[in-house]
């Protein structure tokens, strides 16, 4: 049971950044969370260009939200 939970957590952890290199195509495991992990492993690593643009987007959104929120306080 503990191993199952760890497997699920590692699968989810691998899913979020996907910064690792892809594995060479391998036969799909039997059904289960291993298969989900295998599918994640088959995906190519996220392009650096996309990471840069996503970071830029995040910063711009933070700036916009910050302006709207702190700007309101400044007027009080």
């Amino acid at each position: 049971m503990k191993n199952k939970i760890l497997l699920i957590l590692f699968t989810l952890a691998a899913f979020i950044p996907r910064l690792a290199y892809a594995q060479t195509p391998a036969p799909a495991p039997e059904k289960g969370w291993e298969r989900v992990g295998w599918a994640i492993g088959c995906v190519e690593k996220i392009p650096s260009g996309m990471v840069i643009w996503l970071i830029a987007l995040g910063l711009l959104l933070a700036a916009a939200i910050g302006w709207c929120v702190y700007g309101k306080k400044g007027d009080e």
Partner: protein, 418 residues
């Protein structure tokens, strides 16, 4: 698919028409590439291309997700407006009547067309009455996405319509928690969508065409549209200073689109990571679909508060608004027209496969584009438009009046009381 083309109505959003038009272009380009194998390139030198649109053609299907984000947005937008006192929602009965008026006319026309012209579809035998009845009935009830045999059998692109309609059915239930706790409900739908797709990948042997046609797998995509609608109305009412940062919002809108393009690059680079027999695009999008949906939602939100030039001249330009107005019918028809042209070998080609005959394929593409747009204009203007405006019965009465079969209703005159 929902449209927001009433430009003079308060709350009209130019971004939606622009995104809908662009999404249609992407999907039509994908089906064009699929049917004709043509990749559009403008060469720079013998070895290099100035512009190579193959990536967008090959991966144009990702725009399906932007259609669902748009749907989630358009469905929840009137409710969000009611939440902030901008306008009244109009009730669920009215909601379903409006949806029926918008969806059914064009849909029934193409179904009838496939019955009369069997070459328009390749998924079912029109002459076998029992089989034809099964396929047509599942399509009319919008349940054709639950079996691999009926997906796309009558109207090739209508599996997305089944997902859409099934979402309409559960939408009123989803609005109950969404009205009270929009962010929490959004997170819940996000988690559910991901868990459902993980379950499909890891614990079922469902085929990929069927996997990608399951409505619960799109719950998070619709949720992105719904939360974007909520925040657009929220920002309009509670974040007045957002109107002071239009250049920043324009930049956010543009950057979100660039990031969406890089998503397509990422998807493309994952083509060879899966062993044979596994459809890489379905698996990839099952894992990372929410990223693209999120970028589209951010694009819609930011565009609504961007500079006028970006919002109205770029995304609200007349061509996009026109294309958006006929997008539903063009979407329904274009793939079936390709099937018809290929079944009938129009234009004629002796090559096998016919996709190797470039001049014939160029002509086929032109024919399909022209036919799709013409049918889109005719159906939208003369059938769908009157039904949306007057209702089914009212549109029928208007037609009878125009054909001089019946008299127009006399205008009531009010006499002043002495």
């Amino acid at each position: 698919m929902n449209s927001s083309r009433q430009e003079n109505i308060p709350g009209y959003l130019y971004a939606l028409d622009g995104l809908r038009a662009l999404s249609l272009i992407f999907i039509v380009c994908f089906h064009t590439w699929q049917q004709s194998w043509i990749s559009y390139k403008i060469p720079l030198t013998a070895a290099k291309n100035l512009i190579n649109l193959e990536l967008f053609q090959r991966l144009g299907y990702v725009a399906i997700d932007s259609f669902f984000v748009l749907s989630g947005f358009c469905l929840f937008y009137p409710i969000a407006r009611e939440m902030f006192g901008e306008s009244k929602f109009g009730g669920w009965k009215n909601f379903f009547i409006k949806r029926a008026r918008r969806i059914y006319p064009s849909y029934i026309i193409i179904i009838i067309a496939t019955l009369l012209i069997p070459a328009l579809s390749y998924g079912y035998d029109v002459h076998n009455k029992a089989e034809a009845a099964k396929h047509v009935l599942t399509h009319l009830l919008f349940i054709h996405n639950i079996s691999g045999k009926t997906i796309g059998s009558v109207v090739s692109t209508a599996w997305t319509l089944a997902i859409e309609i099934q979402f309409y059915v559960i939408f009123p239930l989803l609005c109950i928690p969404f009205r009270k706790k929009p962010v929490l409900s959004f997170v819940g739908m996000l988690i559910f969508g991901h868990l459902f797709r993980f379950w499909m990948i890891g614990f079922t042997d469902v085929s990929t065409p069927l996997m990608q046609a399951m409505t619960p797998a799109y719950l998070d995509v619709f949720a992105w549209g719904m939360i974007a609608a909520y925040f657009v109305v929220y920002a309009r009412n509670k974040m007045k200073r957002i109107s002071e940062i239009k250049p920043l919002m324009t930049l956010i809108s543009a950057v979100s689109l660039i990031a969406a393009v890089y998503y397509m690059v990422w998807l493309n680079s994952s083509r060879f990571g899966f062993p044979e027999g596994f459809t890489y695009d379905v698996y990839f999008r099952f894992l990372y679909r929410s990223i693209f949906a999120g970028l589209i939602a951010i694009f819609i939100f930011a565009t609504c508060f961007s500079c006028k030039f970006w919002e109205r001249k770029i995304w609200g330009n007349k061509f996009f608004v026109f294309l958006s107005s006929i997008s539903y019918t063009v979407y329904l028809w274009h793939q079936n027209i390709y099937i018809f042209l290929k079944n009938k070998n129009i234009p004629y080609s002796s090559m096998s496969p016919v996709m190797n005959d470039r001049p014939a394929m160029d002509s086929m593409v032109l024919l399909c584009f022209t036919a799709s747009v013409l049918i889109g204009i005719i159906v939208t203007k003369y059938i769908e438009g009157p039904i949306v405006k007057y209702g089914f019965v009212g549109a029928g009465k208007q037609l009878l009046i125009k054909l001089h079969i019946s008299e127009p209703e006399k205008e009531k005159t009010f006499k002043k009381k002495k």
